[in-house]
Symmetry: D2
Subunit: 504 residues, 4 copies
Amino acid sequence: MAHKHGHGHGRERIQFANAEDKQEFSKYPTKAGRRSLSRSISQSSTDSYSSAASYTDSSDDETSPRDKAQVNTHGSSDFCVKNIKQAEFGRREIEIAEQDMSALISLRKRAQGEKPLAGAKIVGCTHITAQTAVLIETLVALGAQCRWTACNIYSTQNEVAAALAETGVPVFAWKGESEDDFWWCIDRCVNTEGWQANMILDDGGDLTHWVYKKYPSVFKKARGIVEESVTGVHRLYQLSKAGKLCVPAMNVNDSVTKQKFDNLYCCRESILDGLKRTTDIMFGGKQVVVCGYGEVGKGCCTALKALGAIVCITEIDPICALQACMDGFRVVKLSEVIRQMDVVITCTGNKNVVTREQLDRMKNGCIVCNMGHSNTEIDVASLRSPELTWERVRSQVDHIIWPDGKRVVLLAEGRLLNLSCSTVPTFVLSITATTQALALIELFNAPEGRYKQDVYLLPKKMDEYVASLHLPNFDAHLTELTDEQAKYMGLNKNGPFKPNYYRY
Amino acid sequence: MAHKHGHGHGRERIQFANAEDKQEFSKYPTKAGRRSLSRSISQSSTDSYSSAASYTDSSDDETSPRDKAQVNTHGSSDFCVKNIKQAEFGRREIEIAEQDMSALISLRKRAQGEKPLAGAKIVGCTHITAQTAVLIETLVALGAQCRWTACNIYSTQNEVAAALAETGVPVFAWKGESEDDFWWCIDRCVNTEGWQANMILDDGGDLTHWVYKKYPSVFKKARGIVEESVTGVHRLYQLSKAGKLCVPAMNVNDSVTKQKFDNLYCCRESILDGLKRTTDIMFGGKQVVVCGYGEVGKGCCTALKALGAIVCITEIDPICALQACMDGFRVVKLSEVIRQMDVVITCTGNKNVVTREQLDRMKNGCIVCNMGHSNTEIDVASLRSPELTWERVRSQVDHIIWPDGKRVVLLAEGRLLNLSCSTVPTFVLSITATTQALALIELFNAPEGRYKQDVYLLPKKMDEYVASLHLPNFDAHLTELTDEQAKYMGLNKNGPFKPNYYRY
Amino acid sequence: MAHKHGHGHGRERIQFANAEDKQEFSKYPTKAGRRSLSRSISQSSTDSYSSAASYTDSSDDETSPRDKAQVNTHGSSDFCVKNIKQAEFGRREIEIAEQDMSALISLRKRAQGEKPLAGAKIVGCTHITAQTAVLIETLVALGAQCRWTACNIYSTQNEVAAALAETGVPVFAWKGESEDDFWWCIDRCVNTEGWQANMILDDGGDLTHWVYKKYPSVFKKARGIVEESVTGVHRLYQLSKAGKLCVPAMNVNDSVTKQKFDNLYCCRESILDGLKRTTDIMFGGKQVVVCGYGEVGKGCCTALKALGAIVCITEIDPICALQACMDGFRVVKLSEVIRQMDVVITCTGNKNVVTREQLDRMKNGCIVCNMGHSNTEIDVASLRSPELTWERVRSQVDHIIWPDGKRVVLLAEGRLLNLSCSTVPTFVLSITATTQALALIELFNAPEGRYKQDVYLLPKKMDEYVASLHLPNFDAHLTELTDEQAKYMGLNKNGPFKPNYYRY
Amino acid sequence: MAHKHGHGHGRERIQFANAEDKQEFSKYPTKAGRRSLSRSISQSSTDSYSSAASYTDSSDDETSPRDKAQVNTHGSSDFCVKNIKQAEFGRREIEIAEQDMSALISLRKRAQGEKPLAGAKIVGCTHITAQTAVLIETLVALGAQCRWTACNIYSTQNEVAAALAETGVPVFAWKGESEDDFWWCIDRCVNTEGWQANMILDDGGDLTHWVYKKYPSVFKKARGIVEESVTGVHRLYQLSKAGKLCVPAMNVNDSVTKQKFDNLYCCRESILDGLKRTTDIMFGGKQVVVCGYGEVGKGCCTALKALGAIVCITEIDPICALQACMDGFRVVKLSEVIRQMDVVITCTGNKNVVTREQLDRMKNGCIVCNMGHSNTEIDVASLRSPELTWERVRSQVDHIIWPDGKRVVLLAEGRLLNLSCSTVPTFVLSITATTQALALIELFNAPEGRYKQDVYLLPKKMDEYVASLHLPNFDAHLTELTDEQAKYMGLNKNGPFKPNYYRY
């Protein structure tokens, strides 16, 4: 059962046609650092994104959705999904997701009367999952018309796409698209008679790119772009710098709630889940080195230590290193400890953090995985060499076998462990989706001139609003300032409560 | 042994002569929020700041130092301390402090050859403790001439002041100064023949204020002011706003290392120490409510939970509240839980967070204390009423007794618990002192024009340098970027490693 | 997709033929308490015990193994497994398990020269998994002859059984046996010409029972029985009490290593894994009540609190309750908190701990599961009533829907969550398997008279030896007593180090 | 300020007159192991036991209490304390203690009507502190007559002794007794006209010893002895073994509540307190080695890790070592890590655990202290040699200075840190005191024949009762078994709930 070397693992990123864009992309990491979870979602298009992705797919036919004629029960055929008949199953998945997304449901209720998105025509390009469906249906409930496509060729939950199409949202997406399918779907989404988008919700920048290239006139009437990913945000800043951004854009990637909750808290849980599902490892007493003590690294370290692992870290930044010290982690160089480690986890956003030389020195049974960005952190390419044998022992788990019999356990071929091998809690996705919805409302309703042709962060007050919508999940009760206290602190009783530079 | 009501507890703040200044001060809290540890040091001038403050004082005579003629062994009498003969004892205290301040010692060694402060004439106004002495002697070793006075009438360690005076640093300070003494000392420090300061190191802004009022010409040649406290920083921003700041000023209060380490980590340890020393409380199973989940609150909650207390929090800011939820703390309104609590801790920076009505509803034996700013958080004044009996049971511990016999245990009369009832680890003071030293070096050596008449934060690279100087304490080994990695990340191999808005 | 009510979920326990045995069984729980993990393994025979159980099964034919003629490559047909051709796959599974069972491998090496089990003829009846295979092959390496059968009709890993059969161990077991198959396999295992067992290794007591009923003469020459499960141990004590136990028996269920490690540490990890795999729940901020604060409850509480859940407990025993208080958990009655809880977990070993009335009061989305013994703790039967709708949403996950739309999420139909929905780390199984091996060696080699016809605990020194064999996994280095220290403590330098009543 | 070497640090133990007793004592440690907290209280008679011990002593006269004629306000002079006039102050201390000893108060209320100790004549020999006073006054409230003396020449709180004497309890004790005073007090306590004790409450065995030697006839009518310390319990077992025990004795030292709460939980808090009060150390990032992972070591490790220290342990027992691994601590030999450690803590109950050779290898500033038994664990004697300089820097803190300037910080001269340098929470003392009271009630009221001339553990049901009396402190609510559940579990609804061997 030797693993096939060298075969292309599908495209990790839709390639742009011209050199300029490529360059933009290749320059990306200079600014991005490690806060790159969502961008990585966009990138790792071969990851099986969700364990729920293929409930009913197994017996499906092989016909391309593009070749099928499908009609929903309302007579519409303005969609293209795998199988419209899966709608009922998908509806149930959406209902389950709604249980953990009460912030969006609450937003629906609060804003439904006034329909703040009445008149909004939104094209969206995101992962198509039950959670996204809750977002889309919220936008519709608030008055918007939506057309949707997938930002990733593998991550679509076909049943959910069917459920959306059934209720009348034109969706163009299925799991396992080809690259040609991918752009065809985007085009079908944007290019429709008698309807022109005035807002874009993007994850990764591909939709924005396509509209720029093919339908630049859309931007004349557009109220704005909301972008979630590091990659997409980076492109927008590049455009802005080059003077080519012709609508306001909202960077939701760098909002506090997204950063702190997606990275610190989400990774705190998913590192355990990802390791457990793939290796059944017992954490107690395991020697673990975590490379990078940013938010992702902090989350990983907290969880592993809490379950009895003995964790040390590597860092390049002395401030983060000092935090690690105070938090009780030894700060080491990887080479000093590599021989003793049971688990090596990368969270740096950098490349070649784990080198072949270090892989050579690992002990038998050492587990290596990546929680950082993309698949560059571990030099996996160096392992695809003739003297090493790959043995796939489980889905997402390879044993790399050295000539002397030593085995290193590589997870997800060095791609993001938590996206490949665990699930992302709906609650975290709810925070992001709520932020997106508020960004759309803000841009759509902002008075003329509040936003120019530039990239903006969500106003802190809206960050606070997103947070407040999630507090009922925890039965949390906020304290209100008295008039006297508000005056003493120089604060408005309704916030914002902190200066912009506050570090939380 | 009833507590004497109504007597003035000494001045909590040197009063300014004119209304304008008073107003500046009264406006202070509007910006300060809860990051106010050092400012509070400045304020709580009646606190017995350090347990080491009075080793040899008990049998001292009552003569005012101003009336004594003292000469050090080098023949100098340019100082005014309690008793120059205590120098040897003070020297040993300084030596002990040096053991935990290896960052400053290391800075001495690295910069000693080049004498980066040669020509600097620094007047300083800070707490005078063994740790400050290590700072002052570092400045001297780097080439500076220094004159020093105390920012607080109670916090001076007399032996340390003597040791400094013995080695030739003109020090004007003793424990238990009167208000008149306080200003006399500042004046003696600044106003000396044949010597004019060109830099100011201030903690609280009193020295700066005095120079502004009395010797404004000093600012003509001064290279800058380094200010540590929230109060002082606030005044500088006010001056800057009013166009009256005539030299560059460095705000070291808001540097990352100071904020995160002084607040989060220092409070994590001192809350336990402060409660234990005053009440011998067993933490396990105690119901505790912490008001405020900023850095100070986070530190308190972490420690208390770690030792088995059951902690809930109150918050006004939904983002901090959501963090508390994710960290495992119930978010409540104080009134909902006040009857059940064993301990109530305030960390908000606000006023009247604990009201008389809530104090009335506490259960017998409830402990109430403040880790936030100043002494406003608990409405202590409301407890000084005829129907309640105060009983001082230990130093810093009062039982307030209700007519029905209920006792509430009030610590430090609502002033800062960790400054009043515990000690601040030398290691934390080392971080602050190193930051001050680097700020002085930076301002003194900056090329013309780099800094204007404004308030600046320390450059991030220097923050990182402060951190790196403290890593050897932990035997921590930083990883260096390879050229390839630095290029990939778009970083200089020597830092800075993070954008300015990075939240750590 | 409504769940089928009322269908029998297979036998949960092989039924005995006569009333006396039944009564023994029904009396069991009176002594068992909550230290019942392994017994529950034995009981929950319908659980899909291991995620690795069915790698290659899907395309198998439907012919009963009893009707197949199979021969291994050595020409032997003294076995009955699903498909001898799966041996190679099974071998690899065994090799992977060996990596985490270095204690057994080490035991093989240490004892291989002297063959301490030479002459031992062992019949075994346990789960047949890769880990058991490592045990069996260790026994063989130490000189024993073994015949093996399964203690559970569902838990056999067919490939592993094939691998054992291929190397010459007569194995009679496959996944999905009928009750008749079950006893047929046991009989084939015991009843073979020219070979009579002199030792029994049992898990659940079924093999022991069969030998008692059918081949009592076996006990005339047997050196002893080693029993792992609470159920089996209970039966042995009953036999002993009744004067019917005619060989020495070793109770490995109550050894320290098994109790503390299987229960506390194993549950600490598996509660998270079980909840995550079934529900993708985010732990941060979840309100959880854990019923029972024994070892299992302690493990669950520790892990959940560490990941940010807010945990309270229920207890009947004031000592355990006081421990919970000191550990920072509120001690409540279930009815007081049931309305607020997000998750309810039972770990009591009792019955009807969660009643229908309490289920009625849970909030929408509440997750209910059992980590205790058997499936009695939650009154699942009360939920199988006409007014409630069951919806199976995932494997092992049912939504129970109330008429008003409220959903309660029931996991594993109230059976043991960690066995049904997570995996047991090999490391924990290694501790148990090593204990079993040592118990067999001890009984087989004990001098005449050391053990009588009674039930024994493993000598503490052997408990300590089991532990010491596992320390190299952690690169742990024991300290040795000096002669002087040993004398001072009155200890032998090689142990045992603690009195029998030591509580660890 | 060099430390005086070689001076006798007072007697660490009252010496017995004859060889037999000495031998008994010298043999003690062979059985005691590390569960020796209370014994060590008894032993370390020079420790300043409580921070509250000397509130009002400073200006006292030097006259021996034995030479004073004192009368309380009721006209009685049957007592001997430092100064009867301090009674009011002592009364307040007792009242404060009562607040945290509600279990005893509750016991008073429950049993007051029936006066279960009516007729009991109790002589007691314990530490005389506010907490003991609450116990004594409880015994009186339940009907007993009491006479009391101190088990330690330094630990008496004079004000508390005065308060007891004032209310009519004959107390013979003061702080700073000579050895002759010690025995004189015991004798005065026992030998009084017209009154003969029928019960003994002892801590350390000195009172029991005296009665055996001088007034053996007392035992003819005595109902029993209650003994708290390891030392005293050991002596009782020796007597029992030798056939010389002539009354029933209750060993409260080995009761569950005492062991688990006194050791694990009490040390969890006091290690932090002891280190902080003496050294102001910051725990974050400190490298700590804890020698011994029994209950005391577990408590220390838990707390230090929780506050960010990096902890490793040493162990001789592989089972405890494996627990340490699973709990996330590296298990090392002391010599392997000694050079890197910031703090070394002994908790083994053994001798010479830290040797001179290891002290020689420690780094500059390393802190060394003992939480185990007696003062044998660190080889302090080896440090009293000419080439090393001792410098006392604070109370209980010595710097030992090597010829090269290296300083090792030795706390409490190697005696018990938590007794010397921190306080014991009243809550923990409440558990012990309640256990003592119940043991007295049980022995006094037991029907003829229940207890023979042997040493007994408190019945588990009473352990459970002690625990239950403390639950209201935490507002903890126990769950009651239903009849059906009790039957299913084979338990009495009122307990006991666990078998005797249960490990908690």
